[in-house]
């Protein structure tokens, strides 16, 4: 019997998103939309000072205010041994301050009240006396002799130094530098910025006194890891903790860490016996939660007289804030920064990094980036452009000359990475052609003759995403695998659950398409669920572009397991030998008799109704995927800008972005991700800055001071692609969400530096604002 097979939604199809329906109707279910019976509201009192000793906390007035149920202080938390918690980087962090406050915005006390308005009123009535101490706001200050000691709570901490970390080979690098014809140096500061997802962080803790079950709704990108951390911090048995990440309004790394508010709300719910909701406001989000970057970097690139790169030496000072709470794999103190040799065949390199405590918010997260890769990519791409300019070579040509060549893959980098695949010259050529580079170069020359200030910037980035392998990459010892559980129902419909958590990336569509590809069930028939630790298999979560490389691979693998079982069932139904069956587009058929076939839907029904003797019923499975290697997406971005000499304003004329993320599962979603990252990259390059005054007051604590790009200034993007499949990923996919934020800041800034090169300007640190450009032009004698 011929059976019609419908497989709408295979890999490569830009099907519309399955999750859209609820969002366009205003029926998304975000954290703050959840209302539980008897729910209370929590507001957190934060330190106005960057560094101060607490002499007293007076809660009497606040406790008596209308609607107030409880006021929680550090002292109360200390009684329950919860005043401090471990961080993801094996440090400790204050939950509510007991001794000192160490950054402006640090959590000091919390009020739990019947309504949010009441909680905030009472919070303002808490009286705290502080003895203000000198603030340390940069690594340079932190290492000065006599600098205030920030972490006097730690017994063996005698200064503000956190770690020293190295990669590569010091001796061979030194030898290579000795032979260099030219050394190009770039010192640049990648300033502190913030992921600022449009939805802030929050939780609802609901501890049931009768059962002991703690259900915690949380804006978390990594609910399973959070559950384990919570079990360790609170001592609650892990089976009694259920973390649910509902719909998430953007994450970009900001929703990976464990924040004190989560711990306080949970403790409060435990003590009071009612659900407690805490949702931070925007200022709290910007001044206290996971920041990004804050790396002071110096790079030296050694080249020979022909423009061949010989060696790279990099030092960075990292500003980690008051507690070392970076969210990154355990072994790597500066994240994956040592990917800093980038797309270039640099024979030897040496990277050193030092981390410092400062009186600033803790918790370095990767703002749309795989653990500090964007800082590395920014440094090497800026350095390469500066070197090209200094050598009098064309930026593109200098890159081409030094690219790792396609035949060199798998490529062993000087700092220990094994790049899985790539074709850098191809991506560069596609970008240059799409841009019309040669013509544009002539045009730039002509415009400059007329006195215009204009330039072209290029960045050819290499990312490293999709952590693990688990033996190399772990978070607090948890191996960085991920998981997928697939259940096919008797009617041939399915539910897929994963250990990841979408924050807008479209997982409900993309991962359904993987099931379609592997098992032939239409994407519309596959429900995708994530974020509930009671139902989903354990996984490390969604960040560092790891969902498709890891959980996506797990999905393919579990679907293949079910297909293997399906073959046995089909053989039984068709009365044929297993080896005589062929799989094609959602059905098994007998070789040579394509009409003798059983569809996956028929097989699914049989799995519950008609199985061979001795076979387990059902069609479901789970797979935990531990990737053999990272994946290495790459691309070339090219930007054209014009500068107004009178105002210093930079106007982006064109952005061409050629990405190679391997096989694209849903090209529409991939392109959407790239658009978003290019816009965030634009913001980072030109607008977004979290900075501090000498007293440690955070400047950039709201959206009036912390500038995000709107539709008006955001450039229009032209995309291109090449496809170099990952050789080790079951689908050849690599992950894409972060490539545009990793690659684009350098492309934007390189364009500005190309424009300013004739004026002898070699660096402007981000954000490249009009006033900085104006000042650079004035310093170069331009007066218009």
């Amino acid at each position: 019997m011929a059976t019609e097979v419908h497989m709408h939604g295979r890999i490569g199809e830009s099907i519309k998103r399955k999750e859209d329906g609820r969002f366009i109707r205003g029926k998304g279910n975000y954290l703050d939309d959840i209302e539980l019976p008897g729910m209370l509201h929590m507001a957190i009192l934060r330190s106005p000072h960057a560094h101060a000793r607490i002499s007293s906390v007076d809660t009497a007035a606040a406790s008596g205010m209308p609607g107030v149920i409880a006021v929680v202080t550090g002292e109360l938390m200390a009684q329950h041994k919860l005043a401090w918690m471990p961080t993801l980087s094996y440090d400790t962090q204050a939950v509510l301050a007991t001794d000192k406050v160490r950054f402006q915005g640090q959590e000091v006390a919390a009020v739990i009240a019947e309504s949010k308005y009441q909680a905030e009123d009472a919070r303002d009535a808490i009286m705290v006396d502080y003895d203000v101490l000198p603030a340390v706001i940069s690594p340079q200050q932190a290492k000065e002799a006599g600098a205030a000691l920030i972490r006097d709570d730690k017994e063996n901490q005698k200064d503000n130094h956190i770690y020293h970390w190295e990669a590569g080979d010091q001796e061979t690098t030194k030898a290579a530098f000795a032979k260099a014809d030219k050394v190009v140096r770039l010192h640049t500061f990648y300033p502190r910025c913030h992921p600022a997802p449009l939805e802030t962080c929050g939780c609802i803790a609901d501890v049931n006194g009768a059962t002991g079950k703690a259900t915690i709704y949380m804006t978390s990108q990594a609910p399973h890891a959070i559950r384990t951390v919570f079990a360790l911090v609170t001592g609650l048995p892990e089976q009694n903790i259920r973390v649910i990440s509902p719909d998430i309004g953007g994450g970009f790394g900001n929703k990976v860490p464990v924040y004190p508010g989560y711990v306080v709300a949970t403790a409060a719910s435990l003590l009071i016996g009612r659900p407690v909701k805490w949702v931070e406001d925007r200022t709290e989000n910007l001044i206290s939660t996971g920041f990004a970057r804050d790396f002071h970097m110096t790079g030296d690139l050694a080249v020979d007289k022909d423009g061949k790169m010989l060696a790279l030496r990099v030092h960075l000072d990292s500003d980690n804030g008051a507690f070392f709470a970076d969210a990154q794999p355990t072994k790597f103190k500066a994240g994956l920064f040592h990917i800093v040799t980038g797309s270039y065949d640099i024979p030897t390199a040496h990277v050193t990094a030092d981390g410092y405590y400062t009186n600033k918010a803790p918790g370095g997260v990767a703002y749309r980036c795989s653990f500090r890769v964007t800082e590395a990519s920014y440094l090497i791409e800026r350095l390469v452009t500066n070197a090209a300019i200094e050598l009098g070579m064309d930026q593109a040509e200098f890159r081409m000359k030094n690219f790792i060549q396609p035949e060199q893959f798998p490529y062993h980098s000087a700092t220990g990475w094994v790049y899985d695949s790539g074709d850098y010259p191809k991506a560069m050529n596609v970008a240059l052609e799409q841009l019309g580079y040669d013509e544009l170069r002539k045009d730039v020359k002509a415009r400059r003759k007329k006195g215009e200030v204009t330039g072209i910037g290029i960045a050819s980035f290499t990312e490293v995403v999709g952590a693990g392998h688990g033996a190399e990459f772990d978070i607090l010892g948890l191996r960085m695998f991920d998981s997928a559980e697939l259940r096919v129902h008797p009617t041939g419909k399915a539910i897929l659950r994963m250990g990841t958590k979408s924050q807008g990336q479209g997982h409900e569509t993309t991962f359904a398409q993987i099931v379609t590809e592997e098992l032939g069930i239409p994407a519309a028939d596959v429900a995708v669920e994530e974020g509930d630790t009671d139902t989903a298999p354990y996984g490390l979560g969604t960040y560092a572009s790891r969902s498709t490389p890891v959980a996506g691979a797990a999905t393919a693998m579990v679907a293949r397991k079910l297909r293997d079982k399906g073959r046995k069932i089909a053989a039984h139904l068709l009365e044929a030998a297993e080896e005589d069956l062929e799989w094609e587009s959602g059905r098994f058929y007998v070789k040579g008799s394509p009409d003798k076939a059983k569809t996956i839907q028929e097989i699914a029904f049989a799995a519950y109704t008609n199985i061979p003797d001795g076979m387990e019923a059902g069609l479901e499975g789970v797979h935990y995927y531990d990737p053999p290697n990272m994946t290495y997406p790459f691309g070339t971005y090219a930007v054209v800008i014009d500068i107004d000499k009178g105002t210093g304003q930079v106007k982006v004329r064109r952005v061409v972005a050629v990405d190679d993320c391997g096989v694209r599962i849903n090209p529409m979603i991939v392109e959407g991700q790239i658009h978003g990252g290019l816009a965030e990259g634009y913001g980072i390059a030109f607008m977004e800055l979290i900075t501090f005054d000498p007293e440690g007051n955070c400047i950039g604590s709201n959206f009036i001071d912390y500038l995000l790009p709107t539709a008006w200034e955001t450039p229009r993007f032209e995309l291109g692609e090449t496809v170099t499949p990952s050789p080790h990923h079951p689908l050849g996919a690599k992950g894409v969400g972060e490539s545009p934020t990793v690659g684009s800041p350098a492309a934007y800034v390189n364009a500005v530096m190309d424009a300013l090169a004739p004026y002898g300007v070699t660096n402007i640190d981000m954000p490249v604002t009009s006033d900085k450009v104006w000042a650079a032009l004035r310093a170069a004698g331009v007066n218009e």
């Binding site: 519309k16 998103r17 999750e19 859209d20 329906g21 609820r22 969002f23 366009i24 109707r25 205003g26 029926k27 998304g28 975000y30 703050d32 939309d33 209302e35 949010k116 308005y117 600022a196 997802p197 449009l198 939805e199 802030t200 719909d247 998430i248 309004g249 953007g250 970009f252 406001d281 925007r282 200022t283 924050q503 807008g504 990336q505 479209g506 529409m668 979603i669 959407g672 991700q673 658009h675 978003g676 990252g677 290019l678 816009a679 965030e680 709201n702 959206f703 009036i704 995000l708 709107t710 539709a711 008006w712 955001t714 229009r716 993007f717």
Partner: protein, 170 residues
């Protein structure tokens, strides 16, 4: 204080403190949670609603100030199961990712198309420049609003045709 207003065509009322913001009234008292809060400074536009058809950031309005007004929230865009052109546009053109800014964007887009049925890209970008999106880079939001304009144009043409064909029509 008593607040009485029309929301999505229905009369609604509530008793609130004078300081309660319209966005909190909609979300907490009326449980219309499609209107979101993304900042405290009227910068992000996630809380945008239409008051008498005009886009307004509902975090800048006290609930009591809205007394007697007619308000449209995202929940009022669809007519039953029928999505409005702007909702279809956002779905078709992948104009949303996390969805948090989407209600505000769709309401601004709706208001724009009422005033200007065939806006240029610059006009669309200017209209939505009070609303922040962190996911899409705005490219597909622009396309989504253009898509909605096209659907509205097609619907108007059909209505015109029907009117012309009807007996006694002109």
């Amino acid at each position: 204080m008593k607040v009485t207003l029309t929301v999505n065509g229905s009369d609604r009322s509530g008793d609130v403190e004078p300081r309660v913001l319209l966005v909190d009234f909609l979300r907490t008292n009326l449980r219309l949670t499609g209107t979101h809060v993304g900042c405290d400074t009227s910068s992000c536009g996630a809380c945008t609603v239409l008051i008498e058809g005009e886009p307004v950031k509902s975090c800048t309005v006290l609930a009591v100030q809205a007394t007697g007004r007619s308000i449209t929230t995202v929940e009022g865009l669809a007519q039953g199961a029928n999505l409005s052109p702007i909702q279809i546009g956002f779905h078709e053109e992948h104009g949303l990712q996390c969805g948090f800014c989407t209600p505000g964007m769709m309401l601004v887009g709706t208001s724009l198309l009422e005033r200007n049925p065939n806006p240029t890209e610059d006009e669309i970008r200017w209209a939505i420049s009070g609303n922040i999106c962190r996911c899409t880079g705005y490219m597909n939001i622009v396309k989504a609003i253009k898509h909605a304009a096209m659907l509205r144009e097609a619907a108007t043409a059909t209505t015109r045709e029907k009117a012309g064909a009807a007996p006694g029509g002109q």
